[in-house]
Symmetry: C2
Subunit: 293 residues, 2 copies
């Protein structure tokens, strides 16, 4: 049982976490911290959080503090909350990039408090954002990756794990660098591509006609381009090295495809498309293929 | 009422067209032509077609002939069926590229028969293929684009239009070059990107781990990479110029994004992502956003 949970950033992820924990009966009280007083009040009205705060004093009595903000403001927030942390408070986050968040936590929390920071990433979300889009079932049957550092206390990991399991999620562990590389490939790069494609098309003079003839395939392909621009800006900046590396490989692949198109090299195109189809049909887990998220 | 319809290529599109027309009661008899006798027999067993043929003689008595094969074999097929065409038979196709198909039809059908060729493209499909995946409702509330040439007979256009309207589709007209440019942007390029991304990832040593952590966003983004490789090979080759042009713009956009990531230029990334989000949220027609295809 969590007596007092503090969530910093009560949006889609923070709000859904609060709803899920309330539904599970595993939390006594939830305080929300945010910059935008109006958004926070809305979260309180919806019953997602019990009390709304724009300062960090409320952190003092917490068992568990969750950072559910864009990755780019985590270092500053960790610096602000550090002085208020009690001796047993566990801190965790829900950021999509882990190495830079771990470095920030190490710098801001210091030797004494850093072992109680548990880096985490729930593999769940939708293209919508804000507390209004949050729902208690968001994490059910989804994975949460924890990437503890060598110094991280086992008891702190257990606390974070128990919190996520109470939402219905399956918790797995890996090191932060592996996490960042894997998610650069399957999440960050696809988002970057979707944003790039739609931004390209949106700059065309006849964009209205072009979008008018978009079919279902385009809708699915570009759904992630409706995601929050600030959140994704931060992810791209924070995970620059692995993302840059996978983007470079993709650029080489596209350059090769462009040559095949120009020269009418149907064999190369067919081979590449067939490899892709075989990988998607064969390697994607069944739950990802079938779920409607 | 169509007395005798011949469908060449009884796969997802040809099979769904046959099913829809049978359900509408607007067709008396459907003959299917294909290379693969086993697939054709399966279509006949399923009641999708009435008779199965591997030769072109059956075309002689047809009111309407529909080519529903990959674009790359249409020129050869038009050449084979031309000698069998009766004086009033209308020919149409369901190819995703129009300019090259129109050129092929002009060359193969000759001055006398080309006016009865109506270039068409149903904007419907799924990532699955084959007659087993076909269903009568595929075209309902979807658009079909007809791109008649200056020589095309109005009566022939009316026949093709009536056929598609009987499936529940909305028929629109535009010129072939506009069609090819628009669909290069919203369909052909997204397919190429999805294939390229998945092919890239499939070549990584730890592809199993990478695909294991793919979430719903990746599933949606890559759904079109499960499409038929031969069909998409043909589309890329047949629509090489418009596709090459839009791919080049996208490559420039990705190069710009790569520089922003490398230099930590969050402002550029946020601006680009925000433009994309605004375009997708604002410009996509509501039916495309809401439909589940």
């Amino acid at each position: 049982m969590i007596q007092h949970l503090v969530i910093i950033g009560v949006g889609l992820i923070g709000g859904s976490l609060a709803r899920a924990l309330k539904a599970s009966g595993k939390v006594e009280r939830i305080s929300g911290i945010g910059r935008n007083r109006q958004h926070l009040e809305r979260a309180r009205e919806l019953g997602v959080i019990d009390t709304a705060h724009t300062g960090f004093e409320v952190v003092a009595g917490a068992d568990l503090v969750v950072l559910a903000t864009p990755v780019g403001c985590m270092e500053a927030l960790l610096g602000k909350l550090a002085p208020h942390l009690g001796p047993d408070t566990v801190i965790t986050d829900a950021g999509s990039v882990k190495t830079t968040v771990v470095d920030a936590a190490r710098a801001q929390l210091g030797e004494e408090k850093f072992p109680r920071f548990v880096p985490g990433h729930p593999i769940a979300g939708t293209e919508r954002s804000g507390v209004e889009a949050s729902f208690a079932e968001l994490f059910e049957a989804h994975r949460v990756v924890l990437t503890p550092a060598p110094e991280t206390a086992t008891a702190a990991v257990d606390t974070a794990r128990a919190m996520w399991e109470a939402t219905g999620a399956e918790v797995v562990q890996m090191d932060a660098a592996s996490h960042d590389r894997i998610f650069a490939e399957t999440s960050h790069l696809p988002h970057l591509l979707a944003f790039a494609l739609v931004d390209c098309l949106a700059q065309l003079e006849d964009r209205h006609e072009i979008f008018e003839f978009a079919a279902g395939g385009f809708r699915d392909f570009t759904r992630i381009a409706s995601s929050d621009p600030v959140m994704w800006r931060d992810i791209c900046v924070a995970n620059a090295l692995p993302l840059g590396a996978t983007l470079e490989r993709l650029q080489a692949q596209l350059a090769r495809a462009a040559r095949a198109i120009q020269s009418g090299d149907g064999d190369w195109l067919e081979d590449s498309f067939a490899r892709a189809k075989a990988a998607r049909d064969g390697l994607l887990p069944a739950d990802v293929l079938d779920s409607t998220e």
